[in-house]
Amino acid sequence: YVKTDFILAAIDAVNSAILSHEADIEGLDRDIGDGDHYINIKRGCAAAAAMRPELENLTPDAALQKIGMKLLSSIGGASGPLVASFFLEMAKAIKLKQPVSLADHAELFATGVAGIQHRGKAQVGEKTMMDVLIPVSALFTQLASTHAEIDADILNAIKAEAEKGMLATRDMLATKGRAAGLGERAIGHIDPGAKSCQVMIHAVCDMLLGQAH
């Protein structure tokens, strides 16, 4: 199950991680963008974390829906609709069916990623957050098909895949988003959205790894 408690804990973990990784993320959107990605994401994380009282007693789908709408109205920019879509699509899916098996959870995550992809229309290799989300989702799905439960190996593999996808954006040309206008000048710079997604995925994985001990 995905419980509301888990969602709230994950939000807190992500919020903390985003705050503690300011130095890693902050300059990336200045190098190949307009310099606002970090503060957009930070604002969204803070807004989501502040919702705890109003979410605590809601069902997971209602919580995810509210979080998605709050992120939509607080992040802004390209990140806002994309990050919000992740939550909004998962809210719709979880309302129909609570995930039971690990494979169900991977499917829920994939639905969220599909939501982002539907909104942003980006594939792998375009130098966006999809270069983290799509491979991570694919790996999660694959591992979930051969494992019954989440374990440290799976979490570490997911972390590694997120890291790998983030680093892979460095030498890509951008064909989506603001950096698409830079041509070759985007090469050598990690995509900010990919970085923040990697940080967020690591935060949730670390939270689960901590709980496993």
Partner: protein, 329 residues
């Protein structure tokens, strides 16, 4: 970073409140969600709504008023506004003929306005502005950026909407004007986002950024500083390569400052561009010079050429009363 401000996180709100107070006869500001509407709501027309990240003033709040926009949704600095702003604005100004969004072509602006349109209960349409020729338009990218030409689209569409034209007609004219408009800019300095505290990029004393964006994005290339005529020649060449106007065509020439370039230099650029365009056999029938689509505190300017025809001229000339453009009333 030296700016007139109190706190970085109240800067935008204080500025919006100052704008609304200075133009209380013209606009009304709503907060949370943030949007502005005309002080006097129009009736029986398509509601024309625009918006975008703040930092481009007077775009778009300075274009709110009779003959132009019905509502404006300002985002954080360089950050697209969110759908809740557009929904609240639409609810405030829609008056039976639907909503026309005028949206600058950036991923964030497009997606946020798109989601707003999906959530709207009334009918809506969207005009994307994409006049910037700095970035090659290819199938592998998301299209050209919307820059100073947006002002022209908003004037012409706003004028048509004032006549009671329907949504499809307004959109069609907006798209048509957009296709006939081309711009390119050059920066002599970068800009400093308040929350960042330092310039987005560094330009040396002998460098300029050709094809720069209006959010401090780098452009086509960093180049050596050159005399104005040479810079203008490059900008005009790119614009004419795109528009390929026939000799004898009438054009509107807009020389737009990015904020920190003095008017004296903008008119010098106009002089250079006008002579060059005229040497190509083009007739400059309309002109606009000043800071209309800025990039925070950037020194630089852009040139915009719009291919005119009788319909576009008529709607450019029609009365307008906004903070930034006013004539005929």
């Amino acid at each position: 970073m030296k700016k007139f401000m109190n706190q970085p996180d109240t800067m935008l709100t204080e500025s919006l409140q100052g704008f609304a107070a200075a133009h209380a006869d013209l606009v009304t500001l709503q907060l949370e969600p943030n949007y502005l509407v005309r002080a006097k709501k129009a009736q029986n027309k398509v509601a024309v709504i625009s918006g975008g990240g703040s930092g481009h003033e007077p775009l778009h709040s300075g274009l709110l008023g009779y003959g132009m926009l019905d509502a404006v949704c300002p985002g954080f600095v360089f950050t697209s506004p969110s759908p809740d702003q557009m929904l609240a604005a639409a609810e405030a100004v829609e008056c039976g003929k639907g909503v026309l969004f005028i949206v600058k072509n950036y991923a964030g602006d497009v997606m946020n306005f798109e989601m707003a349109a999906e959530m709207l209960s009334c009918e809506s349409a969207t005009v994307l502005t994409s006049d910037d020729v700095a970035v090659e338009n290819s199938t592998y990218t998301t299209g050209r950026r919307g820059v100073a030409g947006t002002v022209i689209v908003e004037k012409v569409v706003g004028s048509l909407a004032e006549t009671g034209a329907d949504l499809a007609t307004c959109k069609a004219l907006g798209d048509r004007v957009n296709r006939r408009t081309a711009s390119m800019g050059v920066a002599l300095t970068s800009c400093t986002v308040p929350a960042a505290g330092k310039p987005t990029f560094e330009l040396g004393e002998q460098e300029l950024e050709m094809g720069v964006g209006i959010h401090g994005e780098p452009g086509r290339r960093r180049e050596a500083m050159r005399p104005a005529d040479e810079i203008v020649a490059d900008l005009v060449k790119a614009i004419l390569h795109d528009l390929a106007p026939a000799a004898g065509s009438e054009i509107l020439l807009l020389v737009n400052g990015f904020a920190a370039t003095p008017l004296m230099e903008l008119y010098l650029l106009y002089n250079s561009a006008a002579r060059l365009l005229q040497s190509h056999g083009l007739i400059i029938s309309r002109s606009l010079v000043g800071n209309y689509t800025t990039a925070l505190d950037m020194a630089g300017a852009s040139i915009t050429v719009c291919l005119l025809d009788d319909e576009i001229k008529q709607h450019w000339d029609s009365p307008v009363h906004t903070a930034a453009l006013r004539w005929g009333m």
